[in-house]
């Protein structure tokens, strides 16, 4: 009897003080804040940007995007895992596996150049996608949010460039040494 009364009361109060956002929305906001693109944004700004995000659910073995197609959107992995694969003449070369709270395809935010790898889900995944032209439109209505995202994007791309340069240097060193050895 008492239990039932308590349930009713708690239901009443829960309803009365119910937060506008449900738990799923809270975890989505937390997820977005954990990503470098949105980490500097306020809660209000996160809410604005989340209006532009497309929520997608992928089954096992479904592609987020495929090698060689024009890039259109940045993908944020909320849950699941995605394999990055590059097709080579000798077969598919798996480059990396991305898990929860990571992102991929960020270069699509800058241009519609062809994707340099395929992204295939290796288990059921939930993702958000941000379309390039939506980001451009955001520049019109909330330029401060857009500037923050572009800044983070520049940092991410810069880090990748740095890593690539290092890789090329070390590759050249090895390759160059080998060439020298052959010449000798």
């Amino acid at each position: 009897m008492m239990e039932k009364f308590k349930d009713n009361v708690s239901f009443y109060w829960e309803y009365f003080f119910k937060n506008e956002e449900n738990s799923e929305q809270v975890s989505q906001t937390k997820f977005l804040q954990s990503l470098p693109f949105f980490s500097k944004l306020s809660l209000r700004q996160i809410r604005v940007i989340s209006e532009y995000l497309h929520y997608r659910e992928y089954a096992d073995d479904e592609y987020l995007f495929e090698y060689g197609t024009p890039g259109a959107a940045l993908f944020l992995i909320f849950e699941g895992s995605v394999a990055i694969e590059v097709p080579t003449p000798s077969g598919v070369n798996q480059v990396a596996i991305l898990e929860d709270n990571s992102f991929l395809g960020e270069l699509a935010l800058l241009s519609s150049a062809e994707r340099t790898a395929s992204a295939r889900c290796i288990k059921k995944s939930k993702c958000f996608a941000l379309y390039r032209n939506d980001l451009d439109r955001l520049a019109d209505s909330s330029p401060e949010i857009c500037a923050e995202i572009y800044k983070s994007l520049a940092k991410v791309v810069g880090r990748r460039l740095e890593a690539t340069t290092k890789q090329i240097t070390s590759f050249k060193e090895k390759h160059g040494n080998k060439n020298n050895a052959d010449a000798a």
Binding site: H54, G71, A72, N133
Partner: protein, 430 residues
């Protein structure tokens, strides 16, 4: 076992999807047919919203919330349209005024024709042009005159109007002279006039009742029009309130494989059609403005010049036929105008005809050589044959509105198909 289960599921999903698509298509087709009357208000509201969208995206009054800006925009557009409608309604002649216009048109047409052809009223001989073409042109002219000649009933209405308004209505005395001249020319004999007079007496009491009836039906018509057109502002407001949610909903329905493809198609189609429609609107406004200004310069009253300009501008959206409509409206007014105040010297009512033709020709030349290339570019190229057949087809299906909307509809169709195939190839779907 698992495989079989998956296979069965796949078959079920194919069945469910195809059944829902077929049902949706049937429903849409049925609704389009049944709600034909609502179609035009919705299209107009949607079109207005679409044209105004960039006004909201650009940071005009950025400190105002979006919804307030939409309402302000609606107020401005609604006010503008209401004002235009009001002034058009004022300039639409009443039944009696139409009779006066008909009389004036009949008289002036005859006068202009005779002065151009140099026809002598007594001998019936004209200049050499007249002698050359009289066999061809006389039957046509008499056909036109017979359309413009008043019927017995109209004659009595006109005389009644004259008696009641001869002190107040400007120039009515003169128009009555026109009327008599028309009658004389139409070789109506005194007998017929007598008969008409008798008829008029018997009709005098009946006309009052007829007028009452007419008023009632106008109110009824107005109510009918209002109820469907009430949709337009709602469509306008809610389409502009929308912050991409409608589009997101439709994109959500797209399978994952086509997700990026659909984003790009929607965007490219939106850009192409937006550019085309906004370009056309700007081009028509420029043409209308040029014609209005031109008519004002050659001496037509500014208000009427701008009204004719607005009509000609709107009609200009119809390829080929539009300029002709503008010309006919301008010439129609030029025919009946009594006095003009030209800014350029040397123009009088006699050569006004050529001045109007010149104005429209100049506006069209400007349109083809400057406005179109700059505003529209080569955004959407349609084959002239497609344009002609499209305009005629539109008029067959939806009348004047169909003529106006046919080319935008074809352009939308073309852009969608083109983009669809281009993008499907880029995404290696076909």
């Amino acid at each position: 076992m698992q495989m079989q289960h998956e296979k069965a599921r796949k078959i079920r999903s194919v069945i469910v999807y195809s059944a829902s698509i077929i049902a949706a298509i049937c429903l849409v087709v049925y609704l389009l047919g049944a709600l034909r009357e609502l179609l035009l208000p919705i299209i107009v509201g949607g079109l207005l919203a679409y044209l105004c969208k960039p006004l909201l995206a650009k940071r005009i009054l950025p400190w105002l919330p979006n919804s307030v800006r939409v309402i302000i925009l609606l107020g401005v557009i609604g006010g503008g349209l209401a004002y235009t409608a009001q002034s058009i309604k004022k300039s639409i002649p009443s039944k009696d005024e139409r009779l006066v216009l008909q009389v004036r048109m009949n008289y002036k047409l005859h006068e202009r024709f005779n002065s151009i052809m140099g026809v002598d009223a007594k001998t019936g001989k004209g200049n050499f042009v007249y002698n050359m073409v009289k066999d061809e042109i006389n039957p046509i002219m008499s056909q036109i005159y017979s359309v413009l000649n008043l019927t017995q009933e109209q004659r009595s209405d006109f005389r009644k109007f004259y008696r009641e308004n001869k002190e107040t209505y400007p120039n009515l005395e003169k128009y009555y002279e026109y009327y008599r001249a028309n009658l004389k020319r139409a070789r109506i004999e005194e007998k017929a006039l007598e008969a008409a007079k008798k008829e008029e007496r018997s009709l005098a009491s009946a006309t009052i009742d007829a007028k009452e009836e007419e008023k009632g039906s106008i109110i009824l018509d107005l109510l009918n029009v209002v109820s469907t057109w009430l949709l337009t502002p709602f469509v306008f407001i809610f389409l502009l309130f929308d912050n991409g949610q409608i589009m997101k909903f439709f994109v959500q329905l797209v399978p994952n494989k086509f997700f990026e493809l659909s984003l790009r198609i929607v965007d490219e189609v939106d850009t192409a059609i937006g550019n085309y429609l906004r370009g056309t609107l700007l081009e028509c406004s420029l043409v209308g403005g040029t014609i209005g200004l031109g008519l004002f310069v050659i001496g037509i009253d500014i208000k009427i010049a701008l009204t004719i300009g607005a009509v000609a501008g709107l009609a200009n959206a119809i390829p080929f036929l539009g300029p002709v409509i503008g010309l006919v409206v301008g010439l129609g007014y030029g025919l009946i105008v009594e006095e003009i105040a030209p800014i350029i010297p040397g123009i009088d009512t006699g050569n006004l005809f050529f001045a109007i033709v010149g104005t429209v020709v100049v506006a069209q030349l400007l349109d083809n050589s400057i406005f179109q290339p700059i505003v529209l570019g080569s955004a959407v190229n349609l084959h002239p044959l497609v344009v002609i057949i499209g305009v005629m087809g539109g008029s067959v299906i939806f009348g004047f509105a169909g003529m106006l909307l046919a080319i935008p509809a074809i352009v939308i169709f073309k852009v969608v198909i083109e983009t669809l195939f281009k993008e499907m190839k880029a995404y290696r779907i076909i």
